[in-house]
Amino acid sequence: MAKVGVYVCHCGENIAGVVDCEAVRSFAERLPGVTVARSYLFMCSDPGQEIIKKDIKEGLVDRVVVAACTPRTHEPIFRKALEAAGLNKYLLEMANIRDQDSWVHPHDKEGATEKAKQLVASAVAKARLLEPLEELEVGVERSAMVVGGGVAGMFASLELANMGYKVYLVEKQPSIGGVMAQLDKTFPTNDCSA
């Protein structure tokens, strides 16, 4: 049987200002499969992650649900926490109760709290069925292509070339330089552009 830990993040006032986090936490506690439910001011902070790690290390939890912000920015952080505590990092599920809840329903606290509960219930239901997964590795061609030979393309090419990588700089005009080549002098130093 999976032991799911649910961690509800206040995200300062971002979530807690709208969603009743304590209500969500106590709701989560009663969900099937959930062994631990906790809430904290900032789950992504070091002490926040420590709470999760501690529960994993003590054997209370082997699947993690973090009800917080967007996985786009924060999933890697929590995955690392799982890994550091010795758990496969794909045994994590996030419920986005900020971007998809508190931010879009700032004037409906009750409704937002109910929605947060549903999102957490859904994440828990999935978490119970999560299986460990392993990443795969493949080799890399040590060269780069830069498309466009204006200021941006030239500087990017030079940087990569100076790091020792082969760079193909593709430019549709006969010459590199882009719009910059057309400019007389450039602000704020008034030096010439070429």
């Binding site: 786009r72 794909y90 549903q118 999102l119 219930a121 859904s122 239901a125 999935k126 069925l129 299986e131 997964l133 392993e134 990443e135 795969l136 493949v138 080799g139 890399v140 061609e141 040590r142 060269s143 780069a144 292509m145 830069v146 498309v147 466009g148 030979g149 204006g150 941006a152 393309g153 030239m154 500087f155 990017a156 090419s157 030079l158 990569l160 070339a161 100076n162 790091m163 020792g164 990588y165 760079v167 193909y168 700089l169 593709v170 430019e171 549709k172 005009q173 006969p174 010459s175 590199i176 330089g177 719009v179 080549a181 057309q182 007389d184 002098k185 450039t186 602000f187 704020p188 070429a194």
Partner: protein, 471 residues
């Protein structure tokens, strides 16, 4: 520019366009079309003899249409590489010398009659007898990462009928840039295009096409500063020219920028807050700018000899095709969309493809350089690591359950699925490096033989059940 061309690690592929991109981070295969220059670049020395002999006159893009170039041309005097190309759509094939035809023989001299460009070239780089392909050639590259830095273009003045765009003395700021440049059509002298005389009064108008619901709602970010730059340089060179600058707001949020602006006020340049509604052409050919000064709350008129429009920066038309080739998405304003506006400003939704410069959004040179160096650092990470990890949340076929129907093969948007032999039968196989984990195949498979790891049917059904239950 010279640093770029002399760096041994950089291979310049100019007059070239990206044709096709496949593969994934660390292992992209790219087809680049080297367009037909019709001039042998191995032999061309960039001397420019051919360009002087060409009888064709077409508007010179480099000088923003202020003068003309031939059909054979070198983009600009300091071009890198300095090579000539023939603009075949405008070439009139002098002496009947279409490419790939033999020359006629002169009855008088017995020698072949060549086109002027061929005759002029001392290096023999132009040979119209060669059956060159108009398609050019396609190169195949293998690269680990890609940086997109395709830049911007400025809006043409013709859009703005209220500002008398048909009048030659109404010019865009880019055209003024060419008038101010030593390599421009006037050799750096500020002259009215209508009569080649020095203007006494110059008006600048900001936010032309920017911050305008009819064209672009965004701020182009560079116009305020480059207008002030142009005004200051003109004022320093010609203190007797009166300069009026019409701004919606003066925006100078950069290091040393506001000081640059206040110094312009001290130099006697007049700043007026208020967007002019129109320009009237006066009987003597001068231009009456119908403006407004918010600080006086009065309508004002400036009779100017030259009006400079700070037209908006916008994306080039071909950005959509490139976006398609690279599977990149565009934002509401048409620029390439970064992965996150604050935290992943150079990354894109396609791993291994990065953005730099104005193709991601309008920005000035200091910001562009910073972003380009950032993009280079980000693009170097997988190269330095020498390996890339592939997320396991991708699809896999259970060959025992697969019936080999092949339904999934054409559905895959990443061409990751093919039918391969398995125990004597054809079965679907997913190339894990190509799969992006979208799940289309798993949803479509009639035999339920495809699993999307991390999003299995059981997991998704459990989620749906939880969401639809009353707790």
């Amino acid at each position: 520019m010279v640093q770029v061309s002399t760096n041994p690690n950089i291979q310049l592929l100019t007059y070239s366009e990206v044709e096709e991109v496949s593969g994934f981070v660390g292992n992209f295969q790219v087809k680049v079309r080297k367009k037909q220059a019709w001039v042998d670049w191995e032999k061309c020395t960039g001397c420019g003899e051919c360009t002087e002999k060409c009888p064709v006159k077409v508007p010179n893009e480099f000088n923003a249409g202020l003068d003309h170039r031939g059909a054979v041309y070198i983009q600009f005097p300091q071009a890198v590489p300095k090579k000539a190309v023939i603009d075949i759509n405008n070439c009139i094939n002098c002496a009947g010398r279409k490419f790939g035809t033999e020359p006629r023989i002169s009855k008088r001299t017995g020698k072949p009659i060549l086109a002027p460009c061929e005759r002029a070239c001392p290096a023999g780089a132009i040979n119209r007898s060669l059956p060159l392909s108009p398609e050019g050639e396609v190169l195949e590259l293998k690269v680990g990462t890609i940086i997109v830095a395709t830049g911007f273009k400025v809006m043409e003045k013709d859009w703005f009928k209220e500002y008398a765009p048909q009048h030659p003395d109404v010019i865009t700021a880019l055209q003024l840039e060419r008038l101010m440049s030593a390599t421009g059509p006037t050799g750096g002298k500020i002259l009215r295009p209508s009569n080649q005389k020095k203007p006494k009064v110059i008006s600048f108008i900001s936010c032309v096409g920017s911050r305008d619901a009819k064209y672009h709602t965004y701020c182009s970010r560079v116009c305020c500063m480059y207008m002030i730059k142009q005004a200051r340089i003109i004022k320093e060179k010609y203190p007797d020219i009166e300069i009026y600058m019409h701004f919606m707001d003066v925006r100078t949020p950069g290091k040393d920028y506001d000081e640059y602006y206040t110094a312009a006020i001290e130099k006697g340049i007049t700043f007026l807050r208020g967007k002019p509604g129109g320009i009237e052409v006066l009987p003597d050919g001068r231009l009456r700018v119908m403006g407004y000064d918010a600080n006086l709350d009065k309508d004002i008129e400036v009779d100017a000899d030259l009006v400079v429009l700070a037209t908006a920066m916008e994306v080039p038309e071909d950005i959509k095709q490139l976006a398609q080739k690279l599977s990149l998405s565009l934002d509401a304003s048409g620029f390439f969309k970064e992965l996150h506006p604050k935290l992943k400003p150079v990354e894109t939704a396609v791993e291994g493809v990065f953005l730099a410069g104005c193709c991601q959004g309008p920005k000035d040179i200091p910001d562009t350089v910073s972003q380009a160096k950032g993009a280079a650092a980000a693009a170097a990470v997988p190269l330095a690591q020498g390996k890339v990890t592939i997320e396991p949340t991708i699809s896999e076929v259970d060959p025992q359950r697969c019936s080999g129907c092949g339904l999934c093969v054409p559905l895959c948007p990443y061409h990751a699925i093919s039918l391969r032999e398995y125990q004597g039968k054809l079965r679907a196989k997913i190339e894990f490096t190509q799969c992006k984990g979208c799940g289309v195949c798993a949803a479509a498979c009639p035999s339920k033989a495809i699993i999307l790891h991390g999003f299995t049917d059981e997991q998704i059904e459990a989620q749906v059940e939880a969401l639809t239950s009353c707790w």
